[in-house]
Assembly symmetry: C2
Homo-oligomer: 205 residues x 2
Amino acid sequence: MNIPERTIERLSIYYRHLYYLAQQGTFNISSRSLASIVGEKPETIRKDLSYFGSFGKTGSGYVVNDLKREIAKILGLEQGRRVAIVGMGNLGLALVGYKGFEMLGFKIAAVFDNSLNKIGKKYRGRLCHNIADFSRIARQEGIEMVILTVPTEAAQEITKLVTGSGIKALLNFAPVHLNVPKDVRVTNVDLATALKSLSFFVSRR
Amino acid sequence: MNIPERTIERLSIYYRHLYYLAQQGTFNISSRSLASIVGEKPETIRKDLSYFGSFGKTGSGYVVNDLKREIAKILGLEQGRRVAIVGMGNLGLALVGYKGFEMLGFKIAAVFDNSLNKIGKKYRGRLCHNIADFSRIARQEGIEMVILTVPTEAAQEITKLVTGSGIKALLNFAPVHLNVPKDVRVTNVDLATALKSLSFFVSRR
DNA sequence: GCATAATAGTGAAAACATTCACAAATGAAT
DNA sequence: ATTCATTTGTGAATGTTTTCACTATTATGC
């Protein structure tokens, strides 16, 4: 069966809210209530979950902790994935300090740059490595995913280096389309694009 | 006619690449070449454009500058929209310095925070205002869109303040679903979610 | 224990988005 | 001038995602 991409995105969102709910001690939740929290429709949530199994109980809904665990399993969050950030500019720096990542089971295990000003310095307790050493250190640290916050001009070249070292998942903040081998997954986060899309809706009001 | 949401997102991406192409002096481009640059199919590009008119010329493709201008018109980028950033934490700070915004016709006209440590300070040349004065300053500065980089706990409350001042477009970085009046548009950028979605694809390899 | 309300799960229908495939127009080459 | 290659724009076909609507199950109140 083919699982819609949007389903995966939504599962991530459900996960986060289940995390909050668990924290504040909520035991049970119906698809209806969860829907109103996450801003979706109840049937969307039920359908999304149905791709992976059936986790609820007719009449009373879902057990928050169980559902949270199931989604973690689906998304592969249980193993505490190890992530590297490449590019210690403003954005990279902001992301090293972003609590959301660690909270959800990601471990920022290494950071890289190519500038001599930055290599050897510590950023929130993490030693900045020379990007030239990526391959060795990535292996050593068990890096599985890379967050790319390098300047646009450098993005493609560094992508080549990184995928050449066996990385199969990239979160790319540079506003370019990266050419990668077929088995590598890229997710683009394009801040200016998000803003431009919004602008369209401002215009047509 | 109903324009697909993805079409709008893609137009933004086309726009940026047309901008680059224009800068480097490219005069003409076919849907085929543009497609390979932006990572889409040629017919997707043509279909996307067809919702708004017909801008190409059979046999020779599109004039880069003209198409760029047309898309700018569609997305409402021509008027140099004025944007405020609310929340001068790490992420807000990184975004004030993000060149992509200004380059594409957005003007970061004001920044806000609620902390006395930050109010009155300058961030990349912009005076940080007290969030309590939002309404007045937004009117004064002609703010149309807000980038929200406040802590999760504060996001809903500040959204209320901001929409209460007549703002109709929000780019939200806080990982919550914001409740807003029907005529307000919210785009969520959720960094941890993007990473989690990627994680799924790492798992299933 | 029974009636009523709440709720999950899910095929089927509807809505939405992409891709195909081709006609018509243009450009280039000779 | 004619042929051939290129390319757009677009209906139609296909594929994908969401929503509907219903069944079956569980919980609750009396």
